[in-house]
């Protein structure tokens, strides 16, 4: 009655599993929140019903941007690519800027290291989406959430 399969052990196991789950919870929550595309009409129009994949694109923006006028941005698509499909373009979409399509970066030739860095303007706190379009038509996405303290569209004049 007190063997590993007994109800007591099962309770203990369940508790231990929960403890492990709790340790991982903050990470998982952040990821779960990230794995949902914000509602941006220009983005939906581009995605056009296709189902983008997660995990291969990394969009790096600071969680807190003091000044929305210039926010460092880095987007990376994890390889290797050859001999499979390569990255054709990376598109950046903003949830709250007056112009939702922030930039399109294009790679006319197959490239093994796909990484672009720039500085963006953010009108207010929002989510930013990076979409990598592959040569076989597949889409890979990543989302970053940024809290902006000074808006990027205002100025001192």
């Amino acid at each position: 009655m007190n063997g590993p399969g007994s109800p007591r052990f099962r309770v203990r196991r369940r508790l231990l599993q929960c403890a492990g789950g709790l340790a991982l919870a903050p990470r998982l929550q952040a990821q779960a929140a990230d794995r949902e595309l914000p509602d941006i009409p220009a983005l939906s129009a581009f995605v056009a019903g296709r189902s983008p994949q997660w995990g291969r694109v990394r969009l790096e923006l600071p969680q807190l941007a003091d000044n929305g006028q210039t926010v460092p941005m880095r987007v990376v698509v994890d390889g290797p690519f050859a001999p499979g499909p390569h990255v054709r373009a990376i598109r950046l979409y903003s949830q709250a800027n007056p112009v939702p399509e922030m930039a399109v970066f294009e790679f006319p030739l197959p490239l093994e290291r796909v990484e672009v860095e720039s500085r963006v303007r953010l009108a207010e706190s929002q989510r930013v989406v990076a979409v990598a379009a592959m040569s076989d038509g597949a889409l890979h996405v990543a989302v970053a959430e940024v809290v902006v303290t000074i808006a990027g569209c205002m100025d001192g004049t």
Binding site: P98, E106, L111, V114, E115, R119, V120
Partner: protein
């Protein structure tokens, strides 16, 4: 002061990607600002940017007012043979800019 500053590695290994960095002097005027008389300042941003390697396009960007003033771009290009990278961009006012950098492949 020149319009842009470009940085590429001094030497590159054939077949391997190398880092290209460019900083362009440009206001990237959003079109949402007003001058001291309350008159709106027309939008003027760099719309297109293209990088060619010995004449062949290897990277291009379509930008918007969502890119910060004095746009900075860092990207990678695969080293093939020694030659030249040329950079060209054009803004809303139709003003073109260009720059170039030598690429040494060993």
């Amino acid at each position: 002061m020149p319009d842009a500053r470009v940085s590429v590695p001094a030497t590159n290994r054939r077949g391997e990607p190398f880092e290209v960095r460019i900083l362009i002097r440009h206001p990237m005027e959003t079109g949402y600002r007003t001058d001291e008389f309350g008159k709106s300042i027309p939008r003027n941003v760099i719309r297109t940017f293209i990088c060619r390697y010995n004449g062949e396009p290897v990277f291009s960007a379509r930008l918007s007012s969502g890119i910060a003033a004095n746009p900075y771009l860092r990207f990678f290009v695969t080293a093939r043979e020694s030659g030249q990278l040329t950079f060209e961009w054009i803004d809303d006012a139709g003003v073109r800019g260009e720059d170039r950098a030598a690429v040494v492949v060993v």
